[in-house]
């Protein structure tokens, strides 16, 4: 008898303890979720604002007390956006610059990362340190010197000027080199004995093994090209070479200097959509690329 008694007492104790634990768990969960919801609202709100503004009429947009739910939904803004801004052309330009610069940049990144990770040559470490050193210089400073350089080359208003100056990314080289260095030396030796050249080893072994990083780099580079603003604004004034961000800025200003913001917002929504898709489907790689390095994206 006493033993069953003991058991039930013990169980009761346990239950009390566990109920106390449950309460604590619920409280902490509520707090965590409240925080997350708050952050989500803060982050989502600008996008929401973009979307509702893009369907408002210009008069509704200019109300002194802004409406959070549009009174009427004007999808015609989207059609206007396409027509006024020549979005198709801008899309194609941006896609072209993005693809070409990503492709060339990948080739350069892979080859230099391979050299820094695997080849032995005099001054390798000094050269790599110098390259890393350039990361300390703020990008804005490069803008000025790059501008002077491309100007003297006579490259203004061309695709070359949009692509070439940013082909080499020290950060990506660094990222990929670290990745390459993690591949054990024995694999290289094994491949040598198996009769491969350096280039074939790179292609057959290193690139497949570093594929997640390469995908991250591709996505980040594409996003960078898609989002770039200052440089294209400086060097490409000819409409033939304008990229999407600049197009958005300029296209919706009428002769009086007024900006038709709802239409501009519609255009922004259109432009953001591909990136949104990229993020949804490839976020695994984006996060990996950004978080592994822990420096910047």
């Amino acid at each position: 008898m006493s033993s069953t008694n003991h058991v039930t007492m013990h169980e009761r104790d346990m239950r009390r303890v566990s109920s106390r634990q449950t309460v604590g768990k619920i409280v902490s969960k509520v707090m965590v979720y409240t925080f997350l919801i708050l952050m989500a609202v803060i982050i989502i709100f600008p996008f929401y604002w973009m979307l509702i503004s893009s369907v408002k009429s210009i008069s509704e947009y200019r109300l002194s007390v802004p409406t959070l739910f549009p009174r009427e939904i004007l999808l015609s803004n989207y059609v206007d956006a396409f027509q006024q801004a020549n979005l198709g052309r801008l899309f194609l330009n941006t896609l072209y610059v993005g693809l070409v610069s990503t492709l060339l940049s990948l080739v350069i990144t892979v080859l230099s990362a391979f050299a820094f990770a695997r080849l032995e040559f005099k001054g390798k470490n000094a050269l790599f340190a110098a390259l890393l050193g350039t990361m300390m210089i703020p990008g804005e400073l490069f803008t000025i010197t790059n501008y002077a350089t491309v100007n003297s080359f006579g490259w203004m208003d061309s695709f070359t000027v949009l692509i070439v100056p940013f082909l080499v990314s020290v950060f990506y080289i660094y990222l990929l080199r670290q990745n390459f260095l993690q591949i054990p030396n024995e694999l290289y030796l094994a491949a040598k004995v198996d009769g491969t050249s350096d280039l074939k080893y790179l292609w057959k072994v290193m690139i497949p093994l570093a594929l997640p990083t390469l995908i991250s780099i591709t996505i980040l580079k594409m996003m960078g090209a898609w989002n770039s603003y200052v440089w294209p604004r400086l060097v490409a004034n000819d409409e033939k070479y304008q990229l999407i961000t600049n197009g958005l800025r300029n296209a919706f200003t009428d002769s009086t200097g007024d900006v038709n913001i709802p239409v501009q917002m519609a255009a922004v929504a259109i432009v953001s959509f591909p990136l949104f898709l990229v993020f949804i489907f490839l976020r695994k790689y984006i996060m990996k690329g950004v978080s592994r390095s822990g420096i910047k994206g």
Partner: protein, 366 residues
């Protein structure tokens, strides 16, 4: 194919340039490895055995000397073109490829006249896989294999291009004890079946002795002795080789020779005719002790370990260089459980070494 190493030397420059010290990893190694034999390169870590292997494979360039495969001087030939098979200690399988792709990989790199059709490649890969009994695992990735299976894949990959030489770098050290025994038999069988001249590196003397046709014992880059395992065990040329071979290891005593008799402590334990009077180091194999109540070598008895067939007697003696003397005796011989144990010695299991240079001092065994 026979392999000839001629005055092979490898010097590594010092890491620390100021110290300027060079490391001589392999020093003047000359040896002819007969065709179709299994050679064990044996020595403690840092003795240059792996370096020797890498030089034969072409992954490291010798500082001096030459390497011949048959009559061809391959010293300047790079690893890609040397046509050797190499199995690494950690197997070095390509992690993103399946077993089949791993085995096919060396074949896909063949050029010119050696180039194979797809069907021939598959056939060869399957043959190699069957040889090591992994033909049912062809579509797995290395991460889905056990250590032993990975090791077999590595051997298959090394064998598939039918190399002139198969090199194995500590092939068994990542396997558990049972698998190690099994795999070393397997390596022996594969080597016999293919008849490929095979060199394998190990620090485990038991491993080397059990499967090698010839063993090469190295120390600090210098070859100490080359010979058949039993021959090297029975007749070591110096104290290092004697100490390195054998489990349990040889028991070492300080002794002296006076008037053709060997003394350990004050006791004359053995007649050693033909040896000049001198201080000597005495090595006695564990199986060289015969328990004998009236035996001259009296040791303090510490413990008796029963191993079934044999008995291992642990004792101590003031003249011994190690705290414990281990002898292996037949379980039929009764060891009295007193304070001491007395032995007579089997003359051919007693080895004398010079105190000055540790070289062997021979005496006539009656």
């Amino acid at each position: 194919m026979k392999i000839v190493l001629q005055n092979l030397t490898k010097v590594f420059p010092s890491r620390n340039k100021k110290a300027g010290e060079e490391v001589i990893a392999v020093n003047d190694f000359t040896f002819e490895i007969p065709d179709g034999k299994l050679i064990g390169l044996l020595g403690p870590s840092g003795c240059g055995k792996s370096t020797t292997l890498y030089m034969i494979s072409g992954l490291q360039k010798p500082t001096g000397g030459k390497i011949f495969f048959g009559d061809d001087d391959v010293t300047e030939l790079s690893a890609e073109n040397r046509g050797v098979g190499l199995v690494f200690q950690n197997y070095a399988l390509y992690p993103h490829m399946t077993v089949k792709q791993n085995i096919l990989f060396p074949l896909q790199n063949l050029r010119g006249a050696d180039k194979l059709s797809k069907e021939e490649m598959l056939e060869r890969a399957l043959y190699a896989a069957r040889l090591v009994q992994i033909d049912n695992l062809m579509d797995r990735k290395p991460s889905e294999l056990s250590g032993g299976q990975q090791q077999r894949v590595a051997i298959a990959r090394a064998l598939v291009k039918m190399p002139k030489v198969l090199l194995l770098d500590e092939p068994l050290s990542n396997l558990d004890a049972r698998l190690r025994l099994q795999t070393r038999e397997e390596i022996r069988r594969i080597q016999k079946e293919t008849g490929i001249t095979t060199i394998f590196v190990t620090h485990d003397q038991e491993e080397a002795m059990s499967i090698s046709d010839l063993i090469v014992v190295m120390k600090l880059g210098v070859v100490q002795q080359i010979g058949q395992p039993q021959e090297v065990y029975d007749d070591p040329q110096n104290l290092f080789v004697a100490k390195f071979l054998g489990t349990p290891p040889i028991n070492v005593f300080d002794g002296k020779v006076e008037g053709g008799r060997l003394y350990i402590g004050d006791a004359a334990v053995l007649d050693v005719p033909g040896v000049a009077d001198q201080e000597v180091t005495v090595g006695i194999r564990p199986e060289g002790f015969v328990p004998d109540e009236n035996g001259p070598l009296v040791c303090r008895l510490n413990s008796v370990e029963v191993m079934g067939r044999d008995v291992s007697v642990v004792s101590s003696h003031p003249a011994a260089q190690t705290p414990a003397i281990r002898s292996i005796i037949n379980a039929d011989c009764k060891v009295n459980s007193g304070e001491t144990v007395s032995y007579t010695l089997k003359p051919h299991k007693v080895l004398l070494f010079s105190k000055t240079d540790e070289s062997r001092i021979y005496f006539e065994v009656k």
